[in-house]
Amino acid sequence: MGNFITEITPNRPVYTDNDPQGELTTLNLGPTHPATHGVFQNVLQMDGERIVSGVSTIGYIHRAFEKIAEHRPFYQITTLTDRLNYCSSPINNMGWHMTVEKLLDIKTPKRVDYMRVIVMELSRIADHLICNGILGVDTGAFSGFLYLMEEREHIYEIFEEVCGARLTTNIGRIGGFERDFNEITFQKIKKFIKNFPPILKEFEALFNRNRIFIERTSGVGAVSPEVAMSYSWSGPILRATGVDYDVRVNEPYASYQDFDFEIPVGTTGDVYDRFILRNEEMWQSLRIIEQALEKIEKEPKGVFHADVPEFYLPPKEQVYNNMEALIYHFKIVMGEVETPKTEVYHAVEGGNGELGFYLVNDGGRTPYRLHFRRPSFINYQMYAPMSGGMLLSDAIINMSSLNIIAGELDA
């Protein structure tokens, strides 16, 4: 080994042929620009303030997750999924666990599904809060962001109560959760769904009919549904163009079919529509959480995982005191459990769109191949082409409203 880098080649020139007079300026936006919220480099050709063309360079925080995943047993891959979309890591964790459950044909109890739904919808709210809050900041409205950040903090406190971590949660197990929700968790969730609506209302009052905000955002980055689907967009930005595709409805997982909620769609697909749509999705998420809390009451108490001793890590006290638990613990950690030799694709509706896991299993200790279908990566490829003709300041808010997360982009 050691032959990876042979020689340093000069950077590729960017579109030298469409500027014969030498009138255009080349501008490096990023990789670390305060307005781009992450490691994104775009080499832009500018005519004054207007972008003529651009090229995106990505991969600055590529960590070879797919390669690492080929060398790790299932439980150790959960921590990799945390670091994809770190604004809503519980969705990634559970998406991965549900992929493995689908592979192993594990049926989770309804109560587990509802607990998962609560946590996933809370993380969806946290994800959308960040996106819409930052969009406000980028358009010059700082105060809305501050109102919302307090609420995100409350969501993180709930995660902390459930699993002990806040950002990279590593939440849950194959088959369910590592522990039941305690009383404080339920209190915190109830307090959140009581206190959050007025704040979201106030946030909407600050923005929705705000003339400055509308003029700043409406018409910016408008995309037709045909183009959006051709670029394989998914998630809120696809729905903002008017396509009602949501994995929660099209292929329900975690008992989403039991819930009564709506999929909001936009009409123009511009930044304003995406903003409104994300706000509406937060209302729908609140609806789902309320229903889930009601449904959990009716389920048998204390059930927080499926009965799959071969895959569900036993509690530590039992490992120390119980022979069977020790055996199972050892087998799981060492990856000695039989798994089917097949392949599975499972998708969940992440904060940014369809987060898919394509797992090819050869029955060994680790996956033979694991591919993440990362929505940010696929959504971002249209960014540079659609920036052509935009003002620089519009391109900035367009990137904010696409909600590209660098961790998910580069994987």
Binding site: M1, T6, I58, E66, H71, M229, V344, Y345, V360
Partner: protein
């Protein structure tokens, strides 16, 4: 879940492509089959444009490497029909000595980066691709790191050897 049964899909596709389609299976209800690279462009276009099937959405393109097989590199397409809510998975296996396959960018703009990523990690040459460069790795990398012969870490390292856990 979908409005079209896998059985109907199989009949329709084998009637049109016959021998070119093989290894049909349905793991977890998702219709999977292998196709040859001579028909893949035509097959994808047919799936996309057929009035009944309408697989209008390209979910993903990726690849897989089985070093022990004759045709070691597999390109894997996941398509989705929004109209019928059906998914389909198509695999095309290619020899390592000649890993070329026609591009899907003529059908879906979104295939551009997916194919670049596949090229970057597996070295699949998508003929007709407008801009086939590396995307996540550095431009001057000379290998295709997701192929099985490249270990995760430098094998000459001795400080991380763990004889008991098989790493």
């Amino acid at each position: 879940m979908g409005k079209i049964s896998n059985q109907h899909l199989i009949e329709k596709l084998t009637a049109k492509y016959g021998e070119q389609i093989s290894a049909i299976s349905e793991p977890y209800g998702l219709l999977t089959f292998e196709a040859t690279r001579t028909v893949i462009s035509d097959l994808l276009a047919f799936l996309k444009n057929d009035e009944e099937l309408k697989f209008n959405y390209l979910t993903d393109i990726t690849a897989i490497h089985y070093p022990e097989k004759e045709n070691a590199l597999g390109v894997i397409y996941h398509l989705h029909s929004f109209y019928n809510n059906v998914r389909i998975r198509i695999k095309v296996f290619l020899p390592v000595s000649d890993p070329t396959i026609p591009t899907a960018t003529l059908l879906w703009d979104g295939a551009n980066w997916m194919e670049r990523e596949t090229f970057d990690f597996f070295g699949i040459q998508f003929t007709g691709h407008p801009d086939l460069r590396r995307i996540l790795n550095v431009d001057d990398m000379t290998v295709f790191p997701m192929r099985r012969e490249y270990p995760l870490e430098d094998p000459n390292r001795v400080d991380k050897k763990d004889y008991f856990f098989g790493r």
